[in-house]
């Protein structure tokens, strides 16, 4: 719809009294998936919402959760008026520091959304080219709501791959409008920048859903099966005696091409195919031959180890110097997408033999090949040739050589200062110089050092600190063997039917989603420890991408991974690996399904009603403990707009913007009870929409609190508050002093803590509150006022 279109919701007050105007109530969509094929679905008010169509929803959210800005830089450097210093003054274009932060939030989300969506567009067109536009979207008998985001936002049910093009085109246009608002002399208000950032986040989720729905169907990846197998994970699982092909990035197309070639030519036992980051997760969804090295934190240390004979890069989160690093070890590099050409010659139309000849004779450093099938053949043949010529076992320096180099350390300390986490790198290097590698091993374990390489770039003695880390890993390969559950894709409708009520009523205390990158403040095992704590407490834990890999790298005291210990069911104590980055769309996806299946809310064109339902009823919370990318920012903004809060690790504060609840102002927490028509006192639930915690202990307690929702039953609220109090006592040694805010009646008080809670209630002059029947932050329909 165009911004000036009249929508049914604009007319709800005097709908039948309006005369002399043309009314467009939107498309009538045939719902062929229902038992009665001729049943018609009336479109909701906002199919294909434009940039401003959901602005009123955003402003409601932003009133409760005003943006909290932490400028990363005082200046704006985007136009030639500048640089402009915005400290206490406006820039030459008139923008102030607040609007500039909103602008940056929008820009960040636009970049993130574009990365996922361009990936999805590439994948969609490639798969349509491969299997045809009429290839059906069919998730089998257990999933009828195949694409809940697209259904809600676009208002249509995609039946074929070709149908997804409509959603793709829509969101590409929206992304263009959003990015244009970042230009100098466009938007000037910080809240409107935020509204647009939330829209960019929503578009990100449309894009991600298109990507995963496409690949699940066309490549026959798991379709929501809870009992998917375990895959091998870790640097130690690779057979280094075989030719090794390493894929890095997020787009499965070239990886699938490699797997196809290996299988078609019966080379399964002769070639090792492994991957880093989300592309590896998707490769294991495609074939059990593939192995996962790990998240992006493994990238530089694994490249330096020289194990890979051929490095295949696709897109996103790949080191910009990957060609240089691959060449250092004598590995060949193949770039495979337009996103990352690395200055390489485009050899897509050349023969595999010609390209191989040029690489093997060192005439070229690598090649750009944009045909995934050709990449498959080229990568495998190259690995077979190169592996016989390289002495890859001798690429890393010996321990003695490393000791000699490390002994050059002058203890200047700059490696520590430039480290994002100020890790004790200098101590590790100094000790290595004395032949003691213990401190380096401590940094290596759990990716405490995620090998960004800044220390090495800073070292005035040019000590190869990253090679030291790679060597430490190579010396301890047996410790680097783990398991990860293969990504299952969406949650099945039947599971939603089973857990919808317990989630909405509070019997299952919450759904925690561990997502995001590996910019961890203190190592990857913190993510797994948090997941373990919530699993033991009967929460549902879902995960994806790097978070899923980090969880897999942790073993409990019995030597078991959490994937081996907990089932893959979407149920209490279930640990669900959804899949890769684009699989994050299934997180709001399942919340939408709860609104539709459990509460019978119509999806098509009905974004605000669905998001309002999720915000007030679905106790889900995201956790991005190591956020680093613009994609992570877009994902968080997207789920925020759907009404799901997110906790970030401390590095998340560098996104410049959080959404913190205005808890001191009771007026902002009032709720409209749609059942009774009354405005009632609410509670700060969820208290924040986007929060950054300083350490794991704080984050754990925050997650428990952010699962509280106004619709919890007394029993459900008791369960949620028991966990909140338990964890607060465990990590803070006190009963939470804000507990009175979440007690509506005395029946909400957990029995175990009754005496202590009653004391706090008394100190705060607490009085019981009404429990809403249908809580909402939406306005009452005007014809209901005064009923």
């Amino acid at each position: 719809m165009t911004p000036n279109s009249i929508r049914p919701k604009d007319l709800e007050d005097n709908f039948w009294k309006n005369r002399g105007i043309d009314i467009n109530i939107g498309d009538i969509v045939e719902n062929t998936s229902s038992p009665t094929d001729n049943e018609k679905i009336e479109m909701g008010p906002t199919p294909k919402p434009s940039v401003t169509d959901l602005r009123s929803w955003d402003m409601k959210l932003l009133k409760r959760y005003p943006p909290f800005y932490a400028p990363f830089c005082d200046m704006c450097c985007l136009c030639t008026f500048g640089k402009c210093d915005l400290t206490g003054k406006k820039g030459a274009c008139g923008i102030d520091i607040e609007a500039q932060q909103g602008r940056f939030a929008l820009l960040t989300c636009c970049i993130g959304a574009a990365a996922h969506s361009a990936h999805s567009r590439h994948l969609l067109e490639y798969l349509i080219h491969k299997v045809g536009p009429d290839f059906p979207i069919d998730f089998g008998n257990n999933i009828d709501i195949e694409a809940p985001i697209i259904r809600t936002v676009i208002g249509k049910i995609p039946k074929t791959l070709g149908d997804l093009r409509e959603a793709m085109s829509y969101m590409e246009e929206e992304n263009l409008h959003l990015l244009s608002a970042c230009h100098t002399g466009q938007e000037g208000n910080h809240l409107d920048f935020e509204s647009k950032a939330l829209h960019a986040g929503l578009m990100d989720h449309v894009g991600m859903e298109i990507g995963d729905v496409s690949q699940i169907n066309a490549l026959n990846l798991p379709k929501g099966d809870a009992d998917v197998p375990l895959a091998e994970l870790g640097i130690g699982v690779v057979d280094r005696e075989k030719p090794v092909v390493l894929c890095i990035g997020h787009n499965v197309a070239p990886g699938a091409g490699i797997i196809d070639y290996v299988e078609d030519n019966e080379l399964e036992d002769q070639i090792e195919i492994c991957g880093i980051c989300c592309t590896s997760i998707d490769m294991t969804r495609y074939s059990n031959r593939a192995k996962v090295i790990g998240p992006i934190s493994k990238q530089l240390k694994f490249l330096r180890s020289g194990v890979a004979d051929v490095v295949v890069v696709d897109e996103q989160c790949i080191r910009s110097d990957v060609l240089e690093e691959a060449n250092k070890t004598g590995a060949a590099l193949i770039a495979t997408t337009d996103k990352m050409c690395l200055g390489l010659e485009d050899r897509t139309d050349d023969t595999v033999d010609n390209i191989m000849g040029d690489i093997l004779s060192d005439r070229i450093k690598g090649a750009l090949v944009l045909d995934p099938e050709k990449v498959g053949e080229l990568a495998v043949k190259l690995s077979q040739e190169i592996s016989t010529k390289r002495q890859k076992h001798k690429i890393l320096p010996t321990d003695r050589e490393l000791q000699e180099e490390a002994s050059k350390c002058t203890n200047c300390g700059w490696c520590v200062r430039v480290c994002p986490n100020n890790l004790p790198i200098m101590d590790a290097v100094s000790s290595a110089g004395e032949g003691d590698f213990q401190k380096a091993e401590e940094l290596y374990d759990h990716d405490t050092c995620y090998t960004c390489g800044r220390c090495e770039g800073e070292c005035p003695e040019n000590i190869k600190i990253m090679s030291l880390m790679a060597k430490v890993g190579q010396n301890n390969l047996d410790k680097q063997k783990f398991k990860i559950r293969v990504g299952r894709g969406p949650i099945q409708d039947v599971e939603v039917r089973r857990v919808g009520a317990p989630i909405v009523l509070g019997d299952i205390p919450g759904v925690i989603a561990f997502v995001g990158c590996t910019n961890y403040p203190n190592g990857s095992d913190e993510v797994a420890k948090m997941a373990e704590e919530f699993l033991e407490r009967n929460y549902i834990v879902v995960t994806s991408g790097c978070g899923a890999m980090s969880i897999g790298e942790y073993k409990d005291k019995d030597g078991k991974s959490l994937y081996e210990k907990y089932s893959g069911d979407f149920d209490a104590r279930g640990l669900v690996n959804l899949g890769s980055c684009v699989s994050n769309s299934h997180i709001p996806g399942v919340a939408i399904k709860i609104a539709n299946i459990f509460a019978k809310k119509q999806l098509e064109g009905n974004f605000e009603v669905i998001a309002d339902y999720i915000l007030n009823r679905v106790g889900a919370c995201g956790m991005a403990w190591g956020p680093y990318s613009q994609k992570a920012a877009a994902i968080a903004s997207g789920v925020n707009r759907w009404g799901i809060p997110v906790v970030l690790g401390p590095h998340g504060s560098k996104y410049r913007r959080l959404y913190l609840g205005a808890t001191e102002d009771k007026e902002r927490w009032k709720l409209n009870d749609m059942r009774t028509g009354k405005v009632i006192d609410g509670e700060p639930a969820p208290e924040h929409l986007l929060y950054a915690a300083e350490n794991r202990e704080e984050a754990t307690v925050a997650l428990a609190k952010l699962c509280i929702r106004p619709t919890d039953t007394n029993k459900g609220r008791q369960i949620k508050l028991s966990h909140y109090i338990d964890m607060r006592k465990k990590y803070f040694g006190e009963i939470p002093q804000d507990i009175y805010k979440f007690i509506r009646t005395e029946k909400d008080i957990p029995i175990t803590y009754k005496k202590e809670v009653l004391e706090i209630l008394e100190n705060n002059k607490w009085e019981p509150r009404e429990i809403p029947m249908e809580p909402s932050i939406l306005d009452f329909p005007k014809n209901k006022v005064g009923d």
């Binding site: 909290f68 800005y69 932490a70 400028p71 990363f72 830089c73 005082d74 200046m75 210093d85 915005l86 400290t87 206490g88 520091i97 607040e98 200062r417 430039v418 994002p420 100020n422 403040p521 401390p650 590095h651 504060s653 560098k654 410049r656 959080l658 913190l660 001191e664 929060y691 950054a692 915690a693 300083e694 350490n695 202990e697 704080e698 925050a702 990590y731 803070f732 040694g733 006190e734």
Partner: protein
């Protein structure tokens, strides 16, 4: 350039405005002059010797303490009174000129930071620099904080402990 005056994490340079480099004497003067100071203490202060320094400084100047992350538990165990807040929560409250402070006596006019993780502290100080003109910030970590109004320089432990001793 004087290495003591480059932000501890060098890329934390934010812009042209620089903080005042303070000695213990200047810091004491700032605290003395303040009507409603607040001491914000992060998780690095869970360990000695910073825990002991914090305790003595707070007692000497009668500073109300806000503990961030899970620092509250350690402080409670050693019977040091504090109010727990997340670092982003307390910064959010401090930027509100209407907030009445931890004791309900009015918004604070000086906030002294120590022991908070460097980069998230830097972000919080940036918030206060831009959006809390009603208060001043002082950091007494061993790291130079570019977004503070006033900061100790980068120091080694020995020198830093000497500085803290003088406060």
């Amino acid at each position: 350039m004087n290495e003591r005056l480059i932000p501890w994490q060098p890329t934390a340079i934010a812009g042209p405005k620089q903080p005042l480099l303070v000695t213990p004497e200047t810091a004491k003067h700032m605290i003395k002059k303040s009507k409603r100071p607040l001491f914000v203490v992060g998780p690095y202060a869970k360990n000695e010797p910073l825990l002991d320094f914090v305790s003595k400084i707070a007692e000497k100047w009668n500073l109300p303490i806000v503990t961030t992350a899970d620092t509250y538990k350690t402080f409670s165990d050693v019977e040091i009174d504090s109010t727990p807040y997340g670092i982003v929560e307390i910064v959010n409250l401090l930027k509100d000129p209407q907030w009445q402070g931890v004791n309900g006596e009015g918004q604070h006019d000086l906030v002294i930071f120590v022991g908070v993780i460097y980069y998230i502290a830097s972000q919080g100080l940036s918030t206060l620099k831009h959006f809390a003109p009603h208060l001043k910030t002082l950091t007494i970590c061993k790291y130079f904080h570019f977004n503070a109004d006033a900061s100790f320089p980068n120091m080694n432990d020995k020198e830093w402990h000497n500085y803290l001793d003088k406060l």
